[in-house]
């Protein structure tokens, strides 16, 4: 018999429903992360609905990409107000493990209100087959 200790924890995600919109003010900075592949993510920082920063995090692996993403977010938050929330979108080729890596990287930089953009039915069904 093999015994393995698993320290199971959790990452909290808030999913909005229907027309429910998050309360935002002109001071709130919101981040959109589009994970294109396990080695590339596009970042867009918005304030009051207006795009104020854009960047692309790239790496040969998901770990390297997340490291660059963290550096970018840390640069955007240094000396200014924190980023209140982030919405993450992923392409079908990206694994759930990579999505959690991105979320973990954002949480390490005090971006704790995270949401995930639901994939379309076609995209989800296509990635199972």
């Amino acid at each position: 018999m093999t015994a393995v200790w698993l320290e199971v924890g959790m990452l909290q995600v808030k999913q909005s429903h229907g027309t429910e919109a998050p309360a935002s003010s002109s001071q709130n900075r919101e981040l959109s992360v589009n994970v294109v592949s396990s080695g590339q993510a596009e970042l867009v920082l918005k304030q009051g609905g207006r795009v104020i920063q854009k960047a692309v995090a790239k790496g040969e692996s998901a770990e390297l990409m997340v490291r660059q993403l963290e550096q970018t977010v840390a640069g955007w938050t240094a000396g200014s107000s924190a980023i209140s929330s982030a919405m993450i979108e992923t392409r079908p080729g990206v694994s759930y493990g990579d999505l959690v890596r991105v979320m973990d990287g954002l949480r390490r930089n005090q971006v704790v209100n995270l949401g995930v953009v639901p994939a379309s039915r076609e995209a989800a069904a296509g990635s199972v087959r």
Partner: protein, 175 residues
């Protein structure tokens, strides 16, 4: 208990009782003498240490569904008690019960929606004076496509499960 005359032999009943009492006390003495108190205390100490180390006030959520390898995260928090939705490449399980094949539920999610609705109704019946917290724990295999997971995450708020806990392996990982 019946004591038959032939069992007593020539002895009187009072002598028989004295003899039995003597035998009993002798047996007891021997038993006490036979106990290794030091070893027993050692054993109980080890047991107490083991129980203290393994004790967790958090609910028993570490039951990871079959075929699910959880991703790792360094910023995880302690889990709260909530229904567990497990997603693997093969199937979907709600509180350890098979709901359907992943592919089928992506096309026709009604069986999952009905189960979630039942869970919510049951919670509301058992907690009539409280508002529904809408918490659910999601255990998904790290190799599953994020599109599949996000699709199911998008379905959950329609049944008032808007606060999703993603189960991960904490910073401690495996030892």
């Amino acid at each position: 208990m019946n004591i038959k005359a032939q069992n007593l032999g020539d002895r009187s009943f009072s002598r028989h009782l004295v003899a039995r009492q003597f035998q009993k006390s002798r047996r007891k003495r021997l038993m006490i003498a036979g106990l290794m108190l030091t070893s027993m205390v050692d054993m109980f100490s080890l047991l107490v240490i083991f129980l203290l180390q393994t004790f967790s006030a958090s609910p028993e959520l570490a039951v990871v569904a079959k075929g699910v390898v959880l991703p790792q995260a360094s910023t995880s928090r302690e889990m709260k008690d909530a229904p567990v939705l497990a997603i693997s490449a093969a199937g979907i399980y709600l509180d350890q019960k098979f709901v359907g094949l992943t592919e089928d539920l992506l096309e026709q999610p009604e069986p999952l929606m009905n189960k979630l609705s039942e869970l919510r109704e049951l919670w509301l019946k058992t907690h009539p004076s409280q508002s529904f917290p809408g918490e659910i724990t999601l255990q998904a295999d790290q190799a599953v496509s994020s599109a599949v997971v996000s699709r199911f995450m998008g379905m959950l708020p329609s049944q008032s499960f808007g606060s999703i806990q993603l189960a991960v392996i904490g910073a401690g990982g495996r030892s």
